[in-house]
Amino acid sequence: MPTFQTSILHEIAHGKPISLRTRLLYRRRLQNRVQRLLRKAFRDEQKRTGLTQKEFAERIDKDKSKVNQWLSIASNLTLETISDLLLGLGVDLDELSVTRLANLIMQTANDIEEEEKASPPPPQLPQLNPPPAAQSASALESQQNWNPPLLGLGDDPAHQVTP
């Protein structure tokens, strides 16, 4: 079982305080799931009636680009907005039911364990390619010691402030 899931299971199953990290993760998970639900409902309606995003947006008096955003990426939608979107698509939620997370996590852990048992042992290390000819030794060294730009990117060359 992955360590992170183990710690979440520990929090959930043993009545421990739920960490901010876990809460942030599950908030995002729910946002993604709601987005996919809306996206699927829109796609179904589009297939059935030829509904466009523009028509949909007009129908619920929203900006087209906002509707496009809500259907495409995770957003922190209010219940009011979700209600408007469902109504605009002429659909309702079948039911609002819950499932025990601890059971789902245990099931996932079992699945991973089964997969690991079934997978063959890792192969020997590959013969790695030599670096590209144009690359200098120092460039290669800096690449090996490369650190990603973990936020706070004011001096990062990958960024350019647009006027």
Partner: protein, 173 residues
């Protein structure tokens, strides 16, 4: 040695890390074709950190691994609301993964080893809504390409303009 053999050997050596799911698969998602995502140790360190933006990236990566549907653009200049976009020039085969609706948004960069197998080599790069910064892709692409060439003996997947050659269960943005 096959592509998967190389990837697995790099994982064994600690130079790549397979992104594991951060939460259980929701009911109904079993039908999706699973995908694989690999990151460098530095990126994995970010994902496992207490940084407030890491959970959003972990969640989006988990959904990627589950094979959940999402939207993809084959042209980076289109600032569509999509989760993945191929940077120009297309032949360089460097892709951007976008983590939306957080402030700042995050971007990760990598290349496809095979269909549904994506290797993230650079990131996270922040993209703020409030400070108008344009991400300069050229140095990022160069880093991705040179890192790729230093660890793999094969070229990245070239799928042309066919999105389904890269990913299952996706739609054009």
């Amino acid at each position: 040695m096959s592509i998967m053999d190389e990837i697995e050997a790099l994982c064994e050596d600690g130079r790549l890390i397979k992104v594991e799911q951060s939460y259980p698969r929701p009911r109904g998602a079993e039908a999706f074709e699973p995908r694989s995502l690999y990151v460098t140790p530095e990126i994995n360190e970010f994902l496992m950190s207490d940084h407030s933006l890491a959970p959003a990236a972990s969640a989006d990566f988990t959904d990627f691994v589950f094979g959940e549907p999402f939207e993809v653009s084959l042209h980076s200049e289109h600032e569509f609301y999509c989760r993945m976009s191929r940077l120009d020039e297309a032949r360089e085969e460097v892709w951007e993964m976008r983590i939306w609706d957080i402030e700042p948004q995050l971007r990760f960069y990598g290349r496809f080893a095979k269909r549904n197998i994506f290797i993230i080599l650079y990131g996270p790069v922040e993209k703020s809504r409030f400070f108008r910064r344009r991400i300069r892709h050229n140095p990022i692409k160069r880093t991705c390409i040179s890192t790729w060439q230093s660890i793999f003996s094969f070229d990245p997947l070239t799928g042309g303009d066919e999105i389904n050659a890269y990913l299952s269960n996706v739609d054009p943005a």
